[in-house]
């Protein structure tokens, strides 16, 4: 059963040191800033963070990195014009990095959520990112064997949730959210507002409530701004 919170600190309670945390968003679209800020206050450390990018500017994921809480980043595109926090940590050897092609990153999390043990993927064959990986030729095409990425926690941003935990997203802010929601033991979604059960069209629900453990309703906070 999904619990609805209005206090971000309550929404992230209990995240353990050493957790693997899947963080949604592509750039800032769909980035769960409220939950990340709460995670910084919560204090969990020695984290492995899985996210497409490695933080922008000095806020959100970048602030989590700056606070020294992240042992390892798994992402497709850490280097950005404003990724100076990550860049500094990486260059000074203070953070591990695993670079994964963006589609393989998504598919590995999908595999975790879908109970697939591993899959043969054509992406990256013959490149440095396939080094050391098992390969196999199938139907004349080379593939690398890729394993699931599971999260202890997923922090995602959605548009609207209902009280049962069903979620809809908005435009390209959907990105990694629906995949990460399936791949973590504990999925926490921040939404702009929460509607009563029955308030979402069942045909349009993108993340069914079974994947959502906690919802942070931002409407009170955002309404105050």
């Amino acid at each position: 059963m999904t619990a609805v919170f209005t206090d971000p600190d309550e929404a992230v309670a209990g995240i353990a040191d050493g957790s693997t945390v899947l963080v949604g968003g592509f750039g800032l679209a769909g980035m769960p800033i409220g939950l990340i800020d709460a995670l910084i206050r919560q204090g969990a450390t020695d984290l492995t963070v899985v996210s497409n990018n490695a933080g922008n500017g000095d806020t959100g994921l970048a602030a989590l990195l700056a606070a020294g809480r992240v042992r390892k980043m798994i992402c497709s595109f850490p280097r950005q014009s404003d990724s100076w926090v990550f860049d500094g940590l990486y260059r000074s050897g203070k953070i591990e990095l695993e670079v994964v092609p963006q589609g393989t990153l998504a598919e590995r999390m999908r595999a975790a959520g879908a109970g697939i043990g591993a899959f043969y993927c054509p992406t990256g064959v013959g490149t440095p990112l396939a080094e050391g990986k098992e390969t196999r030729t199938i139907d004349g095409r080379d593939h690398v064997l890729e394993y699931p990425i599971r999260g202890d926690v997923a922090l995602i941003g959605a548009h609207v949730g209902d009280r049962m935990g069903n979620l809809v997203y908005r435009k390209t802010a959907r990105n990694f959210g629906p995949v990460m929601a399936t791949a973590a033991t504990l999925t926490i979604a921040q939404v702009h507002h929460v509607v009563e059960t029955g308030g979402l069209d069942p045909e349009s629900v993108v993340t069914p409530c079974i994947y959502v453990d906690r919802i942070l309703d931002l409407s009170a906070t955002e309404g105050n701004q």
Binding site: M1, R110, A112, G113, A114, G115, I116, D162, R163, M164, N166, T182, T197, G198, L200, P202, E203, V205, P208, C209, I210, Y211
Partner: protein, 230 residues
Amino acid sequence: MSTVEHLDRGPLARDELAARVARDIPPGSFVNLGIGQPTMVADHLPAASGVVLHTENGMLGMGPAAHGDEIDPDLINAGKFPVTELPGASYFHHADSFAMMRGGHLDVCVLGAFQVSGRGDLANWHTGAPDAIPAVGGAMDLATGAKQVFVMMTLFAKDGTPKLVPECTYPLTGLACVSRLYTDRAVFHIGPEGVTVAETYGTSVAELASRLEVPLRTLDATEGTNRRAS
């Protein structure tokens, strides 16, 4: 908790068995009820339990059977009978539906069975008869994917042979997947330690032990551990 022997009554009727299963489904669970007898469990889940039903043909939040004007050919359950939609429902395609099952997101599935072994192996899709046309549907996916697999069946076949067996003789559906076995004569917990009798109906653990070839344990309240039945 210790094993309870209900000796003052007969075996459970089908409807009582469905009610007994329903009692063990935790509130708020996501549950898939297999085709046939398991469907009856839904009638015994109080609305306040917050149990959400999944049907593998692409829906969470399935409601009761549809009748009369409610019948919609686009809204059916896995048994292809018309059903209804509850508030908070969602629809998804088959790959997403089985990803949900295989990925371990369903708390409980309830299945029928031809045989269950003492290790929790399940046989429920094929009699193995030479002229039978094999048809598996979603049985293997459910047996493999759900966090807990409950089976409901009669404990003995019509000819009196036990359906809880040391080794399944029918073709298997899944290995070591059944965690609870609900029958008309007894409720069993199945795990790495073996088969434990939780409750009996119109029979005793000793009588069951004499009719089954599977070693039986009992729940022991004092020690908090299971004990091998005599």
